[in-house]
């Protein structure tokens, strides 16, 4: 568990990249996206607000936020009505972006290397990578779950850092909130909104 929590920091900000179109090959897609993100975040000519705008746009373009939202909702996505799901999706997106950008401040320069890929199915490829902090911190193994249903536009659905799935952690956190509130999706939406507005 030593490095695992280490993971949670470095991770989300790696979703970032620029607004250029990346390769459709999953391995190249992840590599180009992360290298671009690291370059932008290290750019001293950009202020924090500019970096936040950049991160948000890139995340919306390259992360399957909609699917991530549905996944983290668990079984409730099947039993909730359309309107509630829509409201949840809106709140989740804001929550995701705020959570992502807040981690920006923790960014420290790192070296990034792709170490392999594993095509799970026609829909999913897991891209394996390593992040080596230049400050001498421990090396991190990061696997990227890339959704490839549309082969021309791969999307990131999850990051697995040292074996810890960020999506699963989020799903279990939401699951706990829901189970202690009679599976009321509106309560979860309220809590997401509360987080965004604070």
């Amino acid at each position: 568990m030593k490095r695992l929590v280490v993971s949670f920091i470095s991770i989300f900000f790696l979703f970032q990249s620029s607004l250029v179109a990346y390769s459709s090959n999953p391995k190249d897609f992840v590599n180009e996206l992360v290298v671009d993100a690291i370059t932008k975040l290290a750019d001293k000519n950009l202020n924090k607000d500019q970096k936040i705008i950049f991160v948000e746009k890139v995340a919306l373009e390259n992360v399957d936020v909609k699917a991530l939202g549905l996944y983290t909702l668990g079984e409730l996505r099947k039993s909730s009505n359309e309107e509630d799901i829509l409201n949840y999706q809106k709140s989740f997106e804001k929550y995701f972006l705020k959570s992502l950008t807040s981690r920006l401040t923790d960014y420290s320069s790192s070296k990034f290397e792709i170490s392999g890929e594993d095509k799970k199915s026609s829909n999913y490829t897991i891209v394996n990578s390593k992040i080596i902090p230049t400050d001498g911190g421990p090396e991190l193994k990061v696997d990227w779950r890339v959704y490839t249903k549309n082969p021309d536009k791969p999307l990131i659905r999850d990051l697995i850092v040292e074996g810890l799935s960020l999506a699963r952690t989020q799903k279990e956190e939401f699951g706990s909130i829901l189970s202690s509130n009679n599976n009321d999706i509106k309560i979860l939406i309220e809590k997401l909104d509360e987080f965004v507005n604070n």
């Binding site: 568990m1 030593k2 490095r3 695992l4 929590v5 280490v6 993971s7 949670f8 920091i9 399957d64 909609k66 699917a67 549905l70 996944y71 959570s99 807040s102 981690r103 923790d106 799970k120 999913y124 897991i126 001498g136 421990p138 193994k141 696997d143 779950r145 659905r157 999850d158 697995i160 040292e162 074996g163 810890l164 799935s165 699963r168 952690t169 279990e172 956190e173 939401f174 699951g175 706990s176 909130i177 809590k191 997401l192 987080f195």
Partner: protein, 247 residues
């Protein structure tokens, strides 16, 4: 007094075993209210004592921090040896034993880690993991005072560790091994230092998780359970839970 102590331990084992479903897949919450209260207590303790110590520790020069971390990891390797053996993983027995011998001698009592440079990479193994490899499920999820997240299986393992761990034998049980002996203070000093080293290593990450969680208790529970699953499997295979997503 010794008999009374043994009865207490036996009773504790019985209580814990009663919550150990042999093939349970996921850890269920059995005493969530109690666990959440203990979690709050642990967080308060962390804020008041552990975090400030960890921050102070982080300000130490790197060679001291690395040396301390190597030293505690080297002692933890002792517990991995019997557990790797119990798991039938002879390769890991070799890695753990080799690493301990090399680091304790060439590595100056474990403060250096030359074993890593010659390719010895011991996994950390404990009784909880050994039981996991035997197919014992995690049982109830719970939060222990000071020690943090655990499950019934891992709590049982934690106690059993003190019977299996050679370091515990020469310290808390005060047995002599190869002419070396110690006491309770040695044992708890090393365990305390290990905890501070871990906390210091993860200081920024815990702060970030705390800042970005809607329910920190659940986030840490998820992180703990995923980590234990990976350690039992000795791999970080991704469980494909996305297949059912209609999207």
């Amino acid at each position: 007094m010794q008999i009374l102590k043994n009865i207490k331990i036996a009773l504790l084992f019985m209580v814990i075993f009663s919550f150990l479903p042999l093939k349970a897949k996921a850890a269920e919450e059995c005493f969530e209210k109690v666990s959440r209260s203990v979690f709050k207590f642990n967080m308060a303790l962390d804020d008041a004592i552990i975090e400030p110590i960890a921050k102070g520790y982080n300000r130490l020069p790197d060679p001291i921090k690395n040396g301390t971390s190597n030293f505690t990891s080297n002692i933890a390797t002792l517990l991995s040896i019997p557990n790797s053996l119990l798991q039938g993983n002879l390769k890991q027995v070799g890695h753990s034993t080799g690493s301990f011998v090399v680091n304790s001698t060439v590595g100056i009592l474990g403060f250096l880690n030359p074993a890593e440079k010659i390719g010895l990479k011991p996994h950390k193994e404990d009784v909880g993991q050994t039981l996991g490899t035997y197919g014992v499920g995690p049982g109830c999820y719970l939060v222990l005072p000071i020690l943090g997240p655990s499950t019934a299986r891992d709590t049982f393992g934690l106690i059993a560790d003190t019977f299996v761990d050679p370091f515990a034998h020469v310290t808390i049980r005060e047995n002599e091994l190869f002419g070396v002996s110690g006491n309770d203070l040695d044992y708890f000093s090393v365990r305390g230092t290990t905890a501070i080293d871990f906390r210091a290593d993860n200081d920024k990450n815990l702060t970030s998780l705390e800042k970005n969680s809607l329910d920190l208790y659940s986030s840490l529970k998820s992180v703990y359970l995923q980590d234990r699953e990976n350690k039992i499997k000795n791999s970080i295979e991704d469980n494909d839970e996305w297949g059912s997503l209609d999207n």
